[in-house]
């Protein structure tokens, strides 16, 4: 988002300098109690209800540490938080996505939680999840919910085509996936619909399975863009499905995930790669007789099912005067039982091992078991900590991938744009 970088630069340069010493008002009452502001980005009905209930439970049990629930919004959250930080008005406890944290962490706006987090919580979340919130030597958020990309499939069509249904233990290879899409194409129907309105994160995250990384760190710690053979495999599959085999619908390339659902329900698309949480929309909107299933994303060589994710996180503002109290609330919110409730509310996977083992998330119903089986393959999104990634994504990679997938340019031109133009962008952030 160009506005984001412009605002970031402008604010960092001027507002911070002009407002020394402005800090959030201390909120310790005369009776010694404190009030913490928790800005949540929960937006689905069930998710909002769970968050509010948890806050209520906490407040009932901890009258001296009151938590005020503040509803935030994903739309514009970066700009909103940035101005809040700069003006000393940030919420104490901040819900965000891990790929949005780098600028805030490096800018000194978020508290380093590494010495504050209780051991059980630390141990319960795997190291690779912690990597998504680790910047430099500090940990600037607790990753608590994540969602793999899966394939939502029309069960009736798959069974009619006599296809082997892949499982997390025996996934399709990318080649099998291409063959399945071919078998499912015909009679005005496409085997697959790729909703690629935002093609970059989907491509990069799925490319982990074929060994794609795109961003490589040199010995000096600087990131460099490459687009080698493993990086090219997943984009090639999508490109060929749209332009050569014609097994993927061209019209969905510009769509968001929700836009493809009517076509999915109407039998126009047999499979749609979507985020795990889309199950909730499918359940809510699909015709009652619509049979659907959740398939794991195709695997790379050696059944490599790795894929990148940017978990949802909870952080604490550096300005918060009551960090220990805020951590105590986080600890409560992210207890395994509560993490399960949050995961169910958001239709996502918890990061914590104990929560993942909960039977409520292991049920085959609505594809939960497929998702939980994929959890161990989830890795930090390749671009997670690369400074300059948002600009690279918006100015270089998004238009380049869109042109490539639509067939306007070939693989060579795509590579040139991503690498040559992309490294010029990254260089500005890494001088």
């Amino acid at each position: 988002m160009p506005r984001r970088s412009l605002l970031a630069g402008a604010l960092a340069a001027s507002v911070a300098a002009a407002l020394p010493g402005c800090s959030a008002p201390r909120r310790r009452a005369a009776d010694g109690s404190v009030t913490l502001r928790f800005q949540s980005l929960a937006w689905q009905q069930e998710s909002i209800a769970v968050n509010r209930r948890l806050v209520k439970e906490w407040n009932a049990a901890h009258p001296k540490i009151r938590v005020e629930y503040v509803q935030g919004a994903w739309d514009g959250v970066h700009d909103q938080l940035l101005t809040s930080f700069e003006g000393g008005e940030a919420p104490d406890i901040i819900h965000d996505a891990s790929d949005d944290l780098a600028d805030f962490a490096y800018g000194g706006f978020l508290a380093d939680l590494s010495g504050l987090l209780p051991r059980p919580l630390k141990d319960d979340i795997p190291d690779h999840s912690w990597q998504t919130t680790t910047f430099g030597d500090g940990v600037f958020g607790v990753p608590f919910l994540q969602e793999p990309r899966v394939i939502m499939a029309n069960r009736t069509l798959l069974e009619r085509a006599r296809l082997r249904l892949p499982t997390a233990e025996a996934p399709w290879s990318w080649t099998e996936f291409e063959a399945a899409a071919e078998r499912l194409t015909g009679d005005g129907r496409y085997g697959v619909a790729w909703p690629l309105k935002e093609p970059v994160s989907a491509t990069l995250n799925l490319s982990l399975s074929t060994g794609g990384q795109v961003f490589h760190r040199g010995a000096d710690g600087k990131a460099e863009v490459r687009f080698d053979a493993p990086d090219q495999e997943v984009p090639r599959v999508i490109h060929d499905q749209v332009n050569t085999a014609r097994t993927a619908a061209r019209s969905t390339l510009g769509m968001g995930g929700s836009d493809t659902l009517p076509g999915f329900f109407g039998g126009r698309y047999a499979m749609v790669p979507l985020g795990f949480s889309f199950r909730q929309q499918i359940l809510q909107q699909a015709p009652e007789d619509f049979a659907w299933t959740v398939l794991p994303a195709p695997a790379g060589p050696g059944r490599d099912q790795r894929q990148g994710v940017s978990p949802q996180t909870l952080s604490i503002a550096e300005d918060c005067p009551f960090k220990e109290e805020a951590v105590a609330f986080l600890d409560f919110l992210l207890r395994p039982r509560n993490m399960v409730r949050l995961a169910l509310g958001d239709w996502m996977l918890p990061t914590g091992r104990a929560a993942l083992a909960d039977p409520a998330l292991r049920t085959k119903r609505h594809g939960w078991a497929t998702g939980t089986a994929l959890a161990r393959h989830l890795r930090p999104a390749p671009a997670q900590s690369v400074r300059g990634y948002p600009e690279w994504k918006d100015k270089i990679a998004t238009p380049a991938f869109q042109e490539y997938y639509s067939g306007a340019i070939g693989g060579g031109a795509l590579r040139r744009k991503l690498v040559r133009d992309g490294n010029l962008v990254l260089a500005r952030y890494q001088r």
């Binding site: 412009l6 001027s14 503040v70 309105k197």
Partner: protein, 286 residues
């Protein structure tokens, strides 16, 4: 004229008029489409929202979207905040802009020309640049996270255009009327209040409407400046129905959006007659 030619002329005229009405109807349908679709969506259950063959009318109309929207978000409070911010901004903008516009229209000097230039240039500033000085000023005034602070921002934002609009309206009022008022002994303020302002009424109303709608729909300043949930405005609360990467809870969002359009619609329907009436009155006087 012969009867046959007369009939032909009448038929042509009728055909022309029918064509005009048809064009007008097409235009109205085009304009009304988003609103009608929003209305239809707000009453559709989830299963009717995601179908390949959407219908104009909900097959199983439901109030559930409204119920859910009100259950999840404080829509009435947000509407009240928006009303306060937009109404306040519109009122202050016209109160400030009217005398300023009068001066700019009637006094031709280097200063007024410079002011006019500044008004035009100020419209070119993007929000992200304006918000920095505004944020600084509001911070110093302890007006961050307050609706009056937001009103101040909206006034600042809409004043140049309001001034630009009203200057045009003032210029349309014949200077002879002021001379007549002066002959009758009216001072400058009296002339402005008793002679110019009534003639400017349609312009003032139109300007106020513009300022109101601009403020009512504004999202970015409200998002950045208001922190407390109880102070958030309608556009900010509407985004609470959106998830990451633009996924939306479409039914409740449509229901809430429909409510958000109502004040503008009501205001327009009430004021429209006033604007038209005022314009005609001006024409007769002229």
């Amino acid at each position: 004229m012969r009867p046959t030619a007369n009939r032909r002329s009448t038929a042509r005229r009728r055909a022309g008029r029918a064509g005009q009405y048809l064009a007008l109807l097409c235009y109205l349908v085009f304009l009304a489409f988003p609103l009608l679709w929003l209305l239809s969506t707000a009453f559709k259950p989830p299963r009717e929202l995601a179908t390949l063959h959407p219908t104009w009318l909900p097959e199983h109309p439901t109030w559930d979207n409204f119920r859910q929207a009100f259950d999840e978000q404080p829509l009435l409070r947000a509407a009240a905040n928006s009303l306060l911010a937009a109404g306040g901004a519109a009122l202050i903008a016209v109160v400030l802009a009217t005398p300023m516009a009068y001066v700019m229209a009637r006094r031709r000097s280097l200063l007024t020309r410079a002011a006019t230039g500044w008004v035009v240039v100020s419209q070119a500033f993007p929000f992200v640049l304006v918000i920095i000085p505004l944020f600084l000023v509001l911070k110093r005034l302890h007006l961050i996270n307050s609706v009056p602070g937001l009103v101040l921002v909206y006034v600042t934002w809409s004043l140049p255009f309001a001034l630009w609009m009203l200057t045009g309206y003032v210029r349309a009022v014949p200077a002879e009327l002021e001379e007549a008022a002066a002959v009758d002994g009216a001072g400058r303020l009296r002339t402005l209040v008793s002679v110019i302002a009534p003639l400017l009424a349609p312009g003032i109303v139109a300007t106020a409407l513009f300022a109101f709608i601009t403020a009512w729909n504004e999202f970015f300043f409200a998002l950045v400046l208001l922190k407390s949930p109880e102070k958030q405005t309608m556009p900010v609360v509407l985004t609470h129905f959106l998830g990451d990467e633009g996924v939306a809870d479409l039914g409740p969002l449509a229901a809430a959006s429909l409510l958000a359009t109502l004040p503008s619609l009501v205001l327009f329907s009430v004021i429209q007659r006033r604007i038209t009436g005022g314009m005609l009155a001006g024409a007769v006087k002229n």
